[in-house]
Symmetry: C2
C-alpha cells in the first residue's frame, strides 16, 4: 500500500478472527472510501470496550458494571444456577429457554494443555457462590465436546457432598457441538429435558 | 448481551463489510477474551487512519502525506501514467507488472446512477496532470465491467486531440471482472500485452 498508516490498519484488522490479509484490505478500503464515521465510532467503542469491560463480580460474564444486568436483577431466582462456557451461551439461553435463574460463566472449559484448569475457570468462585447463595439446583450447560463433558464431570464431582440437585442439558445437543451453533429450538428442547447428573 | 458497551461494540463492528450479527459477536468476544491489546491497537490505528488518511494531491491514492510514496519517488517515469479504479489495483500492479511509471486512482468508475460522474472521479485533475506533466503514454487499467469500459472510453474520448499514446490492459482479463480478483499471472500477461486503445 502507498501509505504506512493504511498498512498498519490492514495489519491491525488481522486481530479479528477469520480475517486474512485480503479481507483486511477490503475492510480498510471500504471504511476509508465509504464510512469514515462508522470507522471512527468503531475505534471509540473498541477502545472503551477493551479498557472498561470486566468480568461480573458474581457470575464472571462480561460487563462494564460491578455486577452484570442479570446478577443485578433481584427478580431472578437465586436458588437456580446455570453454568455455561461462554457469554454467548447466556444470550442463547436467555433468548430461548425461559430460564429465570442465575448464571455462572466459566469463560472456557477445562483444557489442561491450554493452561485452563479449575482456577482459570473461576471454579473457586463458583463453589463459593453455590454455598453462600443456597443454590438448590445447579444446571450444567457446558457443551458436549470431550472437554465440555470433563468440565461437567469435574464440577459434579466437587459437589458430591453438597445438598444440591445437579442437572445437565440433555437430549437434542448433537455430540461434539458447542451451544453457540445450535438452533433455538434444539436448545429449548435440551433445556426443558434436562436430566439429573 | 449482559453489557450495553458490549452491545455497542457488536453493533460497531457491523460497519465492516460481510460482518453480520453472528460474526460481530464472535469478533467482540474473541477480542475481550483473548486479545485486548490487539483490540486497543486496532482502535488506535483505526482512529488515526480515519482522520489522517487523505487522497494524494497528485494521484488521489490514499496517503497520510501530501504526496504518496510513489508520487514522491523521483525515479518513477513521469511520462507513463496508469489509470486504475481502486487503490488495491495499484498494489496488484506494483506486485506483478514491473511497471515503473506513475498512477492515477479514480476511486471508482463512472456510474451515473450512483452519482459518480467525471468530477467525482477527479478527471479534471487527471487531464490537468496529463497535460502539465507531458505524459507520453496513458495506460487505462480500469476493469472490464460495463462501467469500467465506459470509463475507459470516456477518458480516451476526452484526449482525442492530445498528442498521447493511449493503451488499455488487454488479453487475459476475464469479461466482467475487476482487477482485484485476478491472479498475478493473468494480470502480468494483460499488462505486458497492452494494446493501443
Ligand atoms: Zn453477573
Ligand atoms: Zn500519489
Amino acid at each position: 500500500m502507498s501509505s504506512d498508516l493504511l498498512n498498519a490498519l490492514i495489519d491491525g484488522l488481522r486481530v479479528l478472527p477469520s480475517v486474512g490479509p485480503r479481507s483486511a484490505r477490503r475492510m480498510a478500503l471500504h471504511l476509508l472510501q465509504s464510512n469514515r464515521k462508522g470507522g471512527l465510532n468503531l475505534a471509540e467503542v473498541l477502545s472503551q470496550s477493551m479498557t472498561q469491560i470486566k468480568n461480573c463480580q458474581s457470575c464472571r460474564n462480561f460487563t462494564e458494571q460491578a455486577l452484570c444486568s442479570i446478577c443485578n436483577d433481584s427478580s431472578r431466582d437465586e436458588t437456580q444456577l446455570c453454568v455455561v462456557e461462554n457469554p454467548a451461551d447466556v444470550d442463547s439461553l436467555e433468548l430461548t429457554s425461559g430460564y429465570t435463574g442465575r448464571y455462572f460463566v466459566l469463560m472456557g472449559r477445562l483444557s489442561p494443555l491450554d493452561g485452563l484448569g479449575p482456577y482459570e475457570l473461576g471454579m473457586d468462585k463458583l463453589f463459593e457462590l453455590i454455598r453462600s447463595q443456597s443454590v438448590k439446583e445447579l444446571i450444567i450447560a457446558t457443551g458436549t465436546s470431550v472437554e465440555g463433558d470433563a468440565t461437567a464431570q469435574y464440577i459434579s464431582d466437587q459437589l458430591v457432598n453438597d445438598d444440591i440437585a445437579i442437572t445437565r442439558l440433555a437430549s437434542g445437543i448433537p455430540s461434539g457441538g458447542d451451544l453457540e451453533a445450535l438452533s433455538g429450538n434444539t436448545l429449548k428442547t435440551a433445556f426443558a429435558n434436562r436430566q439429573p447428573f
